[in-house]
């Protein structure tokens, strides 16, 4: 992938497919690192599934036998000396999955984050009925978006209405304009 924001889009689609009702996308930067966490309350995976999901020859899909999403994220992280960890539960009480990817930003093979705003709007457009929480923190400040807060104001106006989508894009752009460029 050319941008890490594309990996995020792809990995978060797994959470949508897992039937999550809330998906959190949490980006945390230090001067040296970027941590990407994608946390969902979807159906989760068994320990054996988690183990094999890191391996490109695992997928529960039938249309094609090789799942590439997680391995691509892992590759992007590991090539910077970072790593990917998946914690998941398929138990009824606490089902869900947390994918955490750590990157060394200053490594020559670090892929830029790219257009994260387009990723957030594409995710909301694709799954407007579920709730999304986005937090990007850096330098003691953060850009945040929580669709639950928006929904409280919007009532039954769907999140993927064009006016709403535009508001979200503009809101995030303003948030980033106010965020310190680095630590």
């Amino acid at each position: 992938m050319k941008e890490l924001s594309l990996n995020i889009l792809d990995i978060a689609q797994n959470s949508v497919k897992a039937g999550a009702s809330l998906i959190e996308i949490l980006l945390t930067e230090t001067p040296e690192t970027l941590t990407i966490r994608i946390v969902d309350n979807g159906c989760g995976m068994t320990a054996a599934q988690v183990e094999s999901v890191m391996d490109p020859f695992f997928t529960t899909r039938t249309t094609r036998s090789v799942g590439l999403g997680v391995p691509l994220l892992k590759l992007a992280a590991e090539q910077t000396g970072g790593s990917v960890e998946i914690v998941s539960s398929a138990q009824a009480e606490d089902h869900g999955t947390a994918v955490t990817a750590l990157f060394n930003k200053n490594h020559i093979d670090f892929t830029p984050l790219g257009d994260i705003i387009s990723t957030v709007t594409a995710l909301i457009q694709g799954a407007p009925g579920i709730d999304w929480q986005f937090v990007h923190s850096r330098g003691g400040d953060a850009v945040t978006l929580d669709t639950r807060e928006l929904r409280a104001v919007l009532g039954d106006v769907p999140m993927d209405q064009y006016d709403v989508m535009q508001w979200i894009g503009e809101y995030l752009r303003e948030g980033y304009a106010a965020l310190p460029a680095c630590e």
Binding site: L6, L9, T63, S118, T119, G126, V157, P158, V164
Partner: protein, 123 residues
């Protein structure tokens, strides 16, 4: 600054409008957003359709949605256009520029751009 008050205004405005639910339009544009599609550039293509359809005033007629694997990795980004009583049109190797053309000629003008279709590629 963007405020929640603006969202409240959008809600007010929408109150009298019939809200279009996904798939209720006459034309459905579906963008393939599996890993391979995303890697090949599906995100800007999706954006181009969402923005273009609204800017051209086609929102009443056209809904834009996303799907996973369409099964033709080598042709990604792939976009399918569904229209009642018509055969599905599959556009391949899409770009935002081609999307703008599809909006203009096909969605607005009713003319399929044969050159961009999978039928043409396989012929």
């Amino acid at each position: 600054m963007k405020s929640l008050a603006e969202l409240a205004a959008i809600r007010e405005k929408m109150k009298d409008k019939v809200i279009l639910r996904e798939g209720s339009g006459e034309i459905r544009v579906v963008v393939g957003m599996a890993t391979c599609g995303i890697a090949a550039g599906a995100r800007p293509v999706l954006n181009a359709f969402v923005e273009g359809v609204n800017k051209e005033g086609l929102a009443e007629k056209v809904t834009v949605s996303q799907t996973g694997c369409i099964g033709v990795c080598q042709f990604e980004p792939v976009v399918e256009v569904f229209e009642a009583d018509k055969e599905k049109v599959t556009y391949i190797k899409m770009t935002p520029e081609k999307a703008a053309e599809v909006i203009e000629k096909h969605l607005k003008g009713g003319k399929v751009i044969a050159d961009y279709t999978i039928t043409k590629a396989l012929a």
